[in-house]
Symmetry: C2
Subunit: 386 residues, 2 copies
């Protein structure tokens, strides 16, 4: 790199223009650099309001991505919707580095390949199988029991692209709906009887790696509604999850910030469920909750800077997602209680339209004990209309 | 206000496009609102890189300001260069509220009026006099001793607009250089023999007020090079400074964030030296050092939201300014040590050009004891080239 990464004419480009890029972009601005954003949508996306360097194009177009990449000094991802082969070509044609690298991304971009990658690194994953036929669908149920979960191998998020099926008829229907006949890989996963869903973020680059505390993600209808950090599970489990997360990041030679989601089974085993090569909802609490946020370490990691401390700022930190409550132009009502709480921190993502269940913002509360802090955070935000 | 302040189409406008507006703007983005910026410069100013809503015009032009104001829902200041009468007209013609209000700003925009205002509120200020003639210049020296300080009543910052004069010849020269014959009010101020320069920030609006810890500003050649918080002076002094700062804000019916700078004299008296109706260099440490930063409380104050806790996050917080070391395209070298320190936080303002002594960024370090933390912060940043 012939340009100093900490210079006013250095531009960090984001592929994706949602809240993850927005929060990373705010950190980029704190380092005095410029932010470019590439979106595939016509509407005004959150990041497009905070930079004059906004591009619209198709994630499938090497040319679009190359043209954008040429205006930036380094690119990073905010989602997994782009194909690694397209990324690789855009990187070659533009000469602009992309982190996570296309090669690293290729190891996890498809849920089937992801599981093989981590299994190959000696990490326990949810039992899974690539299913292609009715016989496969039946066989998986016979081997691992009903219900089980069918997942589209690419493009899923927040429960989209996932179906829980309880018999062969549901399995066939879900297989079709998920695009199984449309040349899309469908993965069957055993239904895991878990006590907690846990998450760990890892930042890594050529200077080393840092690992965040193991937190619990609280899910309702496949959507994360909140996070407790540290997770209310034994320290030995927390440490084991952190160890696996680091191992997984090394297995894919990751450069950037990564999130790993685990099931803690009734038997006390940790199964790696999903990974994300980007900032993750489970790490939003780190903005105020840790000395260095996942967004700052993301920016540091892709810029090749040393990584910052992941230590918690309080004994307990809770985060609640502010999911859309109404269909309307986005605005926040009834937030006075949340704003008035001493160590409570409101974040709103700047989306123009509220939709029921859409991630519109989040709230972070620092406290003493994690379950009580989480309860308090939900009480402070329950009445918010957004 | 018929629009919810916490909505994606609410726009907060900044008059000024430097680092103060930039850091306030980053907070505005955290609340999901939009940022507009008005600058009187052609070059690319720090905030212009982080919003598509950028306007250029003259601070003297009611029309320019009115046109900008019409695109915003509320305006705020980042400097004191605009005339309150111009602001008042722009507010009337646009229908957009400006905070601090033109009426409140009028009470402090001119150094002579400012001192009268605070003196009238029973606050001790540095002995001062409006000087118009050679007789005035001589008389002030005779009454308060040489050297003393001559200040332009408007437009000064970072030592610009100030001259220390040690005899009548220097006084006459400085009077002319500061614009005394050019219809500009010149104020003479007694030279104060102080042990510490202290500062306190206050945020205030219709919901109440909050006051920040009393900090010490470390000055070299009239430029703030660093801050220690809390100030290493007795608690009784700290509390007295906080009390005066609140009183001063009430005296001008302030809405927004205000900074007050004090001299602590050898006799232990507090004299109010200067005030600023905006975020201030003395409060940059609050970004990581306090639960709610001066920038967040600035945004909250002008939006009419409840104000956040000003509590320190650590027993001691130190800030060092990163002043330009070279004339060049702005970039940061030798920052690895600063970036690697656990609770150290680097901020770069995104100015395109470095100039020697120009404020290019700052560094905040959280620690245990204030003098040691400050020494450590200076050691970590001494070698930075910027």
């Amino acid at each position: 790199m012939d340009k100093s990464p900490l210079s006013a004419n250095f531009k960090l480009g984001f592929l994706g223009a949602g809240q993850l890029a927005r929060m990373s972009g705010l950190q980029a601005f704190r380092y005095g650099i410029q932010v470019g954003v590439f979106s595939d949508r016509d509407e005004n996306e959150p990041v497009q309001f905070m930079t004059p360097h906004s591009f619209t194009g198709s994630y499938d177009s090497v040319d679009d991505l190359t043209n954008f990449a040429k205006t930036c000094d380094v690119l990073t991802l905010e989602n997994e919707f782009i194909d690694s082969a397209v990324l690789r070509k855009a990187q070659e044609q533009s000469g602009t580095n992309i982190f996570p690298s296309p090669d690293s991304f290729a190891k996890i971009e498809n849920k089937f390949i992801e599981k093989r990658t981590f299994e190959g690194a000696g990490i326990s994953v949810t039992p899974y199988k690539l299913v292609k036929t009715v016989t496969d669908l039946k066989g998986f149920g016979q081997n691992y029991g009903w219900p089980y979960v069918l997942k589209s191998s690419k493009g899923g998020y927040d429960g989209y692209g996932n179906e829980t099926v309880k018999d062969i008829e549901e399995a066939k229907k879900a297989f079709n709906e998920l695009g199984g006949h449309d040349n899309r890989d469908i993965v069957a996963e055993a239904f895991v009887d878990f006590t907690h869903e846990l998450a760990v973020q890892v930042a890594r680059n050529e200077t080393g790696h840092v690992v965040y505390p193991c937190c619990e993600t609280v899910q309702e209808n496949h959507i994360c509604v909140g996070v407790k950090s540290p997770a209310p599970v034994p320290q030995s489990i927390q440490k084991e999850a952190q160890k696996i997360a680091v191992k997984a990041t090394e297995a894919i030679d990751g450069k950037g910030i990564y999130a790993y989601e685990f099931f803690l089974t009734k038997d006390g085993d940790l199964l790696l469920n999903e990974s994300a090569p980007r900032p993750h909802n489970s790490g939003h609490y780190t903005i105020e909750g840790c000395i260095t946020s996942q967004f700052e370490n993301h920016v540091r990691a892709v810029m090749g800077l040393p990584l910052g401390s992941t230590e918690l700022r309080a004994s307990a930190v809770a985060m609640t997602n502010l999911l859309g409550t109404d269909e309307r132009n986005a605005k926040v009502d009834n937030a006075l209680m949340a704003l008035s709480e001493s160590d409570g921190h409101l974040h709103v993502y700047g989306k123009l339209d509220s939709r029921v269940g859409r991630k519109m913002g989040h709230y972070t509360l620092l406290g003493q004990t994690v379950n009580e802090t989480y309860t308090q955070a939900t009480e402070l935000t329950d009445s918010i209309r957004i």
